[in-house]
Subunit: 212 residues, 2 copies
DNA sequence: ATCCGATATATCGAGCCGATATATCCAGCC
DNA sequence: GGCTGGATATATCGGCTCGATATATCGGAT
């Protein structure tokens, strides 16, 4: 869940935890709010799995921007006292810059392609994958969209079958509203799928014929 | 969260855990799927808090239906051997019928009226309260709807302000779709609020005048 | 000089989820 | 009678997320 989001952001550039959280709230914020209680354990898990690694805070980034803010290390006009005060302390709180490893690229691709079991947060899982689906090949992207379409379609049929009879006025109104929302999600998905198919087969004279 | 749903169902009639789970999935199923890992601890918490109590499984219900299925106790044509085999075993698995206490009624009312801090599952929390809002007085119901309206409105403004610029094509499409959904939720709420106001002030000649 | 707020990492308790273990009853079958 | 499979029923486990909180550092305002 959260791992996918972290890997997706680190794929673009190395970041440290605090900045990672800001960007998660910034670009994926409308999906869900990440807390430190989730973020730091997730970073540890990913590091343990070899998907990400820590770039030593004192060393410069391999080939990226020259650190817009000089951060916490390697300032020139630095007194010896300050250097002594900072470096040898074992509890020194420095930035831990995290970088994606080649293994991390694999894990990212696996998570993005994985067919999750339908669960409590199907919504979030799909939205997250969709948000990063520019990293998917055309067929895998279509597969993602159609898996989601199948899931929504089933939910809609189930809702239409049993929901409107039960409960009082408020419960029925709620059920009806959710059914409408699901139907609109489905229509949106259909548009997306159609657009993907058009992008895959740009020839307008062959529409409806997939076999040669 | 889950406590509210349990109390709301037990408010209508005493139930045991298994049946409770079935009804949760049945009538509130389109909200979220309850698991035993949540249900039984929640029941224990509620019992500890004095909000619910166990009706002795052997004793008949106080004044309700005569147990459609005779359940597990008190069948007439029963051998002495069977009685011995069943009753004295300390591990005997019988139904634990739970019943709402007067304290439970209070807790239910508190949970239903409470103004939750905006969190990860604002959605679920509102939907749940709305599903039971027939137990609220007219003004409290209006307050619930308008709190929700305010929250959605803020989210919508935030989304409209910053979302459409960032990210690639897919992320923007996702953000736009979510914004539309939020706008429709808002419109739905406005209808509900208008309906509630009409119900509270049935006189059509005084619309727009709240002070006497 | 010192305090304040932003930056930054980390942990804690509690709740929820999916999976699984355990136990009982009943219907069908030989 | 005895056996099995499936529905009923209670309970726990590990893992993840959340909100709150602790701790530490740094830059700038006073």
């Amino acid at each position: 869940m959260l791992e996918l989001a972290i890997l997706g952001l680190l794929k673009e550039q190395p970041l440290h935890g605090y900045e990672l959280k800001k960007r998660l709230g910034d670009t994926l914020g409308f999906l869900w709010g990440v807390s430190y209680g989730s973020l730091y354990p997730a970073l540890r898990r990913l590091e343990q799995a070899g998907a990400i690694e820590i770039v030593a805070p004192g060393s410069a980034a391999p080939a990226s921007a020259p650190a817009p803010m000089p951060a916490t290390g390697s300032i020139d006009g630095e007194t010896a006292a300050a250097r002594l005060r900072r470096l040898p302390k074992p509890t020194r709180r420095t930035r831990k810059q995290y970088r994606l490893t080649p293994r991390g690229e694999e894990v990212f691709a696996e998570l993005l392609t994985a067919d999750d079991a339908p669960g409590a947060d199907e919504e979030k899982a799909f939205a997250l994958k969709f948000a990063f689906c520019r990293h998917l090949a055309g067929d895998a992207r279509l597969a993602l969209l159609e898996r989601r379409r199948a899931g929504l379609s089933e939910r809609l049929a189930q809702a239409r079958g049993s929901a409107p009879r039960r409960g009082d006025r408020y419960l029925r109104s709620l059920a009806e509203h959710r059914t409408e929302s699901t139907a609109r999600d489905l229509a949106w998905l259909d548009e997306l799928i159609a657009a993907e198919r058009r992008a895959a087969h740009p020839d307008p004279s062959q529409e409806g014929a997939t076999a040669p």
